[in-house]
């Protein structure tokens, strides 16, 4: 449904925009209907930038974003409105997504004015009730209230209900639960699971690995704008290959294992993979026919992929990139 191909984003920084910050490098991924794809990375990994580019809040520097076969990077104003009927986003801080001066109903009213001017009042009310029921909110508890009278979890679910009113097909959820309390967090996560069952595709941006693991079908691990590893959630979490993914998983505070136990397990894997790079090994072993991504990055000469951004399929559905960490570093295997 949603396909990103070699997406690039360069921010101009410095006093007069003289220096470049390469925030997203050659990112290719896809989201299908009825699927949750998690973008996982630390701050500065480019995960939110990708989400914003998908939502057309930022322009991309290179590459394409296609939605059902249509390139959406160069949509005009009118076409963009149609796009927003299908693709909506929810962001981290629910309190700043609402205007504190107005009652929350206004959010729905502006939506109606822009997208459904012809829908009658009673028809709209019943649609609203349906959308609120889908996010397990009671209309009487919510409507006519100000944002400060509701909890963060309720507001976050309201924003999802707002997106559902548009009959969307893709939801970009950018850190939507990191501001919520532990006891309500899980309700929002379960809601994402239900939406997935209804056929919605969800791009779930998070820095929390345990939350990314809970709902997602596939995960994409980003480091400094580059995809270092991606694949089915269980494959990546059970057998992390890239040094960065392994570091990340070893740093997550677990509830059932101490860091020492996790590190002992990780030490075994690190010893097995030390000084190796599965990416370059695969490239050397199989030449250039390495699946779409390595092939698409071809044409740079001696089998070296530009910036080391290609991925190889190590196991079915489990892709890994060159074992260097940042794109500027040399590959640990020295090739």
């Amino acid at each position: 449904m949603l396909t990103l191909t070699q997406l690039d984003k360069v921010y101009k920084t410095g006093t007069f925009g003289t220096s470049d910050l390469h925030a997203v490098r050659q990112v290719s991924l896809d989201v299908q209907r009825g699927e949750v794809v998690s973008l996982i990375g630390e701050s500065g990994s480019g995960k939110s930038t990708i989400g914003k580019m998908v939502l057309h809040l930022l322009d991309s520097t290179g590459g394409t974003i296609t939605f059902d076969g249509r390139d959406v990077t160069k949509l005009g104003f009118r076409a963009r409105r149609d796009y927003y009927r299908k693709v909506q986003g929810v962001f981290q801080d629910p309190f700043s997504s609402f205007n504190p001066i107005f009652k929350v109903d206004r959010t729905f009213e502006t939506l109606r004015q822009s997208y459904f001017p012809k829908v009658s009042g009673s028809e709209w009310r019943s649609r609203l009730d349906d959308a609120l029921a889908a996010v397990t909110l009671e209309p009487d508890d919510i409507l006519g209230k100000f944002p400060h009278q509701l909890s963060g979890g309720q507001l976050q679910r309201l924003l999802i209900a707002r997106a559902l009113l548009l009959d969307i097909e893709l939801l970009v959820a950018d850190e939507i639960i990191s501001m919520l309390d532990a006891s309500t967090r899980i309700d929002v996560l379960n809601l994402l699971g239900e939406l997935k069952a209804r056929g919605l595709g969800i791009l779930f941006v998070t820095h929390d690995l345990s939350l990314g693991n809970y709902v997602s079908d596939r995960v994409v691990i980003l480091y400094k704008g580059r995809i270092v590893e991606r694949g089915d959630t269980t494959a990546v979490f059970d057998d992390p290959l890239h040094p960065y993914t392994r570091d990340l998983l070893a740093s997550v505070p677990h509830l059932d294992r101490t860091w020492e136990e996790v590190e002992a397990e990780e030490a075994g894997r690190a010893a097995r993979l030390a000084g190796r790079c599965l990416y370059h090994e695969a490239v050397a072993a199989q030449g250039r026919s390495l699946g779409e991504e390595a092939a698409s990055a071809e044409g740079s000469g001696s089998g070296e992929v530009p910036d080391g951004v290609g991925l190889v399929e190590y196991a079915p559905g489990h892709f890994v990139g060159c074992f260097r960490k940042a794109a500027e570093e040399p590959c640990p295997a020295g090739s």
Binding site: E42, S43, S151, G153, D181, A182, S183, T184, R185, I186, D187, L189, N190, G193, H207, L209, S210, L211, N213, Y214, V215, T233, T234, F237, D247, L248, L249, S251, V252, P253, H254, L255, D256, T258, W259
Partner: protein, 316 residues
């Protein structure tokens, strides 16, 4: 024991009445203990941390005592507390790393801080550099501005400077929040190391992230709406919690490996009561599956096993 808090009550004065943010808490922290405080937002955990060092103008010490190393802390006497602050009780407030003076180099900022407590910078400089090295920072950072450091580095600087005079008690409020997992681990490790080296005798770590507490804390105290719910060794809280609130809270946390398709976790219905006029009795009553008539009376915070305190009628 290092710290003994007895029936401490701290209320916030507002125009609509008193908000009973901390309503009679009693607990002890032993020498060398790292105690974690967990709870939802608004449960009083930050108020508890702040009350032990400085009451701001809205906070009112209504009752109870705090004894640190056999000396009672004069909580409501701002002037008298000054002698204890930083030397005996030190606090790393929330967002401390963002509160560093952006116009001063870090060394200069530490010098100012020490001068305010009548300590000469040059006297402690060797120790300062040694400790920075211990947390993996170069002494060069003293010549840098805060903007030049990453969040994890700043948080480690804050940890070093707040414990420079070897306080008996360090209170860390959300010290590992808003950090990437790798920096989070480094800061959490540094906390344990500082305790092991004896730089601080005991520690209170306040966070909403229970999995971090499981990694660093010896004991965990769970708070709910201004009351204590449960206190026990970290492993017991995670693996055999007794209070229904703790059980539900732990049950709502997905572990790495839990999957939505295989096992759906459940959140806790409802919201905590308003602390403006909290209901009498157990404050978790409205959301509790075990609630019965007796819960109209507040349950005592009772020791049910060695080092395991619970405030619930269904358990004790």
């Amino acid at each position: 024991m290092a710290l003994a808090v007895n029936d401490l009550k701290v209320w916030y004065r507002t125009l609509r009445g008193d908000v009973k943010a901390l309503d009679g808490v009693t607990f002890e922290v032993a020498d060398g203990e790292i105690m974690g405080i967990a709870g939802e937002s608004g449960c009083g955990k930050t108020t508890l941390g702040k009350a032990l060092i400085r009451l701001d103008t809205r906070m009112q010490h209504v009752g109870g005592t705090v004894v640190l190393d056999e000396t009672e802390l004069p909580l409501s006497d701002d002037g008298a507390m000054r002698r204890h602050r930083y030397r005996e009780v030190s606090l790393i407030p929330q967002y401390a790393m963002s509160a560093m003076n952006p116009t001063r180099k870090i060394g200069r900022m530490i010098r100012d801080l020490l001068a305010a407590h009548n300590v000469r910078y040059t006297d402690v400089l060797p120790e300062l550099e040694r400790r920075l090295e211990l947390v993996g920072l170069d002494a060069e950072v003293l010549k840098r501005y805060p903007i030049e450091l990453s969040g994890g580095m700043k948080q480690r600087v804050v940890l070093v400077l707040s414990t420079l005079l070897n306080p008996s008690l360090l209170i860390g409020d959300e010290v590992t929040s808003a950090l990437d997992v790798s920096s989070q681990k480094a800061v959490a490790r540094a906390l344990v190391e500082f305790r092991d080296h004896g730089f601080v005798k005991s520690m209170i770590v306040i966070t909403h992230d229970i999995s971090v507490l499981f990694q660093v804390a010896d004991t965990i105290l769970v708070m709910y709406a201004g009351h204590l719910a449960e206190k026990a060794p970290a492993k017991t809280i995670i693996n055999q919690p007794l209070h229904p609130y703790t059980k539900m809270l732990i049950g709502a946390l997905p572990k790495v490996g839990d999957r939505y398709e295989e096992q759906q976790l459940e959140g806790i219905e409802g919201r905590p009561p308003s602390l403006l006029e909290p209901p009498a009795g157990c404050r978790f009553r409205d959301r509790c599956p075990l609630a019965h008539d007796k819960c109209a009376e507040a349950p005592p915070f009772k020791e049910v096993a060695e080092g395991h305190h619970v405030a619930c009628w269904a358990v004790s």
